[in-house]
Subunit: 383 residues, 2 copies
């Protein structure tokens, strides 16, 4: 169950010494084809890291043959020297594998504002190129970890083809400064437009709705590479469904491993006039520190939920709002409903349901609670 | 130096038993005239508390003769019964003071989603009405405290008139669920339009730019009452200047007493193409948990600042951005600048300056760091 499970891919993960911990920190994934179709979505942050600036050029034509990833440094806000490091990485991968540099995606994660040690990175890429194998997916997934406590992988099978994925991070595609890097492989045959549509459809309802701490990373990248090695042309709808499952699975693994979190919170907004309204309301709740701290304290403080709803432009009447936590409707019609004593917040999984009573649309946003450990990890991260 | 320093006002603060702590919890302020000009700004949250819904009607005509305030309960999300409690409070004040209820502003602060104990509130109002005095400002300022560690008061004098103020809260006008209540009194002669313009101008650059935790309260109220008792017509510009000073002073007192904060952070955005751009960028940084946790950890992590800037729609080029902390330019042109070792974050006051290099406009947003104590206070608040 890894990115080398689909046919046509080799991978490796090695230790280059970029991380002080001495753990693996360089991963390489190669698509041996016959197809080199790829699709990629990147952070929407306007201050993008050098590897993102490079990779956007690589994937602009809907093709990529390899991706090199490093932890131990984000290569972000490192200026022209940092961009040269990224470019040199792609050049080296291309040289060792007989490709063009413009077919090599680069991803980096770790501290921002510091140069990567180019010599170590280079040696790591050399080593990874020498260790590429069809069993290397697991090692690659380990090499991209930063504050992750375990590697994240997923696999789904379709009719004659399969999709494998790996991810790192404690955050999400739009938000989360703890960079999210995701590589997904498939041996299905797809054309470039279909791959792009499928990836955007899948990420829109999975990684895009994961909002761990409302912060938007400079390096987030989700790359899909299609080898076509199964020889089976995938039905686009079926492929999109399985791809969404892989993305959802990886997103939930990211959520449950978020830095310092005690609770995984699913915020479902129903009865919305539009899906956009539901997403806006869900995000506003997910970004309320007061709500998130209350969940940490196992306090079913629904007033903080309504206060967040009130900051949005969504269609609703304040006196019509219903709120449930873990299935108990503690607020009905904007007033106290069932007793909050009925809500048990001991388990890690928490569900919040908000009924806007304004329509039939819905959306779910996932977030975590705000804990002492979150503050600790993020106050000491760079020191 | 209190709200009873300007001529024409009496006030009182008493213990009604709404707070479990047994501390004072009902305040009453009366404007004895001759003028009853008033102006008021309220939370922009769409889920408003009952006292806000009531008071908006009171001040709609630019006049008010008294304000009754209680801590120990926000009377928010309490439905028609809660609204009746607010209305009954105004009626009782009116009856005891020979006014119309529609001239009585009501403010409440404390837990939301629970009914106020109307009998206790009523008895408290009776007691406060009996204790009104021209020396009662300090007692009123104490009675509106919730998690505040001390009362907040301010006083400025103009040419023959003065302005007094009191505030409670740990937050801000737009944001902060820890309700901000502010009452400002003056004996200057002003017409209704001038009072409204002055209050909006003053709050726009003070309370509105205080963003402690990005959460927007349901009860925030800033009330200005003008007695005209000095007999001196105030020059509007001079009055606005002094009123802004009072608001700034109170806002800084709120900032320095914010729940669980270790640092007061002034985020100054300069070189902006517009003031709106500067405010948007400042707010985005003030709402970054990663940045705020870093300041708690005394880590001058400027990468998290740039990452926040990158989420805005402000005009700037990423490669042009400069960032200083406490006067040290640790980021120049989007790259590492002077050594971060030069930044000493031991003191409570922290300044962050971001130069967008896109124009000549600027704005300052004030916030606090994200600490273990913040999480603790807000996870245990209602339990």
């Amino acid at each position: 169950m890894s990115i080398t499970s689909p046919k046509g891919f080799r991978a490796a993960g090695v230790t280059a010494g970029l991380k002080a911990s001495g753990k693996p920190d360089v991963a390489l994934v190669v698509n041996d084809g016959p197809s080199d179709i790829a699709a990629c979505v990147y952070t929407s942050n306007r201050c993008k890291a050098n590897p993102v600036l490079w990779s956007e050029q690589v994937t602009a034509d809907g093709r990529a043959k390899a991706v090199v990833l490093n932890s131990g440094g984000a290569n972000c806000y490192t200026g022209p020297e940092g961009f040269q490091t990224t470019h040199a990485s792609a050049e080296l991968v291309a040289e060792r594998l007989g490709l063009g540099a413009i077919d090599v995606v680069v991803c980096s994660t770790g501290l921002i504002g510091e140069q990567l040690e180019r010599d170590r990175l280079t040696a790591g890429i050399e080593a990874a190129a020498g260790e590429l194998s069809a069993e290397g997916g697991g090692a690659a997934a380990e090499a991209i970890m930063t504050t992750d406590t375990h590697s994240k992988e997923s696999l789904r099978s379709g009719d004659g083809w399969s999709i494998g994925g790996m991810a790192k991070g404690a955050g999400m595609l739009a938000p989360a400064l703890a960079t999210m890097l995701v590589v997904i492989t498939t041996d299905a045959e797809l054309d470039s437009a279909a791959a792009d549509r499928a990836l955007r459809a899948a990420t829109r309802v999975t990684f895009d709705r994961l909002d761990s701490d409302g912060c938007m990373s400079t390096n987030d990248t989700v790359l899909l590479m299609c080898s076509g090695a199964s020889g089976v042309a995938a039905d686009e709808a079926a492929f999109t469904e399985k791809l969404t499952e892989v993305c959802h699975d990886l997103a939930q693994q990211l959520l449950s491993d978020a830095e310092g979190a005690d609770h995984d919170i699913a915020i479902e907004v129903v009865g919305a006039a539009s899906e956009d309204d539901a997403v806006e309301v869900g995000r506003s709740i997910a970004r309320s520190n007061l709500f998130k701290a209350a969940i940490f304290g196992k306090d079913p403080n629904w007033g903080r939920i309504l206060a967040s709803v009130g900051t949005t432009s969504a269609e609703f009447e304040p006196s019509a709002l219903d709120v449930a936590m873990n299935g108990v409707w503690i607020c009905r019609g904007g007033e106290p409903g069932d007793s909050r004593d009925l809500v048990d917040l001991d388990a890690r999984a928490v569900s919040v349901t908000v009924d806007l009573k304004a329509g039939t649309e819905s959306a779910t946003i996932w977030t975590n609670d705000l804990t002492h450990a979150y503050v600790h990890e993020n106050s000491a991260y760079s020191t």
